[in-house]
Symmetry: C2
Subunit: 134 residues, 2 copies
């Protein structure tokens, strides 16, 4: 199976020079937060509480169902959200933050707070930089 072989080779190569990076647990968490939608899902659930799949899709307008599902699966796997299936006539699925997810959301929210507080500074720095470059 050449497909697996190629994938395995990549992982092997990664492990070779990433050994010291892999040791750091924060690295994996940062990668997880890099998933663009993770922070938004966390924020949405923190604001609204329990939400259904379609509610999340609407709240994060712009996300594809593939990405939303993928994000929710990852969060569920990491124990940050719960997924509750209720076998009603059309299936109902509720998502909610776990205590662990809630605690992470508090930290992530601090980043949001920083952004809202300093975005003007960043914006003016950006303008100044662009002015010099032109």
């Amino acid at each position: 199976m050449p497909t697996m072989t190629a994938a395995q080779q990549r992982e092997q190569a990664k492990l070779a020079y990433d050994s010291f990076l892999a040791e750091c647990p924060s690295r994996q968490l940062l990668d997880r937060l890099s998933d663009k939608w993770v922070a938004l899902v966390l924020a949405a659930l923190a604001d609204e509480g329990t939400m259904r799949y379609s509610q999340l899709a609407r709240r994060l307008a712009g996300v594809s169902q593939k990405m939303l599902t993928q994000t929710l699966r990852a969060l569920e796997r990491d124990g940050l959200v719960t997924r509750t299936v209720t076998p009603t006539v059309p299936v109902t699925v509720d998502y909610d933050l776990t205590p662990l997810g809630a605690s992470l959301q508090v930290v992530v929210r601090q980043v949001k707070v920083w952004a809202e507080a300093h975005m003007d500074d960043v914006r003016s720095a950006r303008d100044a930089y662009d002015a010099r470059g032109a």
Copy 2:
């Protein structure tokens, strides 16, 4: 310069369907932090203080010079780091955190702290999830 045109086109396109998202300043900041290397550069500069290009390249071992340069340019543009060129025999370039960059780093570090504190929980949740799936 077609390079700039391409970049501008992307921003234009984004603004078209992201209008309501673009309103939120935290969105742009989150995207910036998604750049995988941003947090690492911030952390490195916070730990070591002033660093030269080659020092950063070694500290973040695994990053390509393309990504490192790109990341540093973005951080400089946003006023988070300073770039100082000293015209010695071989050119010397020093990078350092601005007060703004330092304040952001404090927040980002909290995420790192959370990760180190809860990574065990995440890991066990992950194992449990995988065990169910198998």
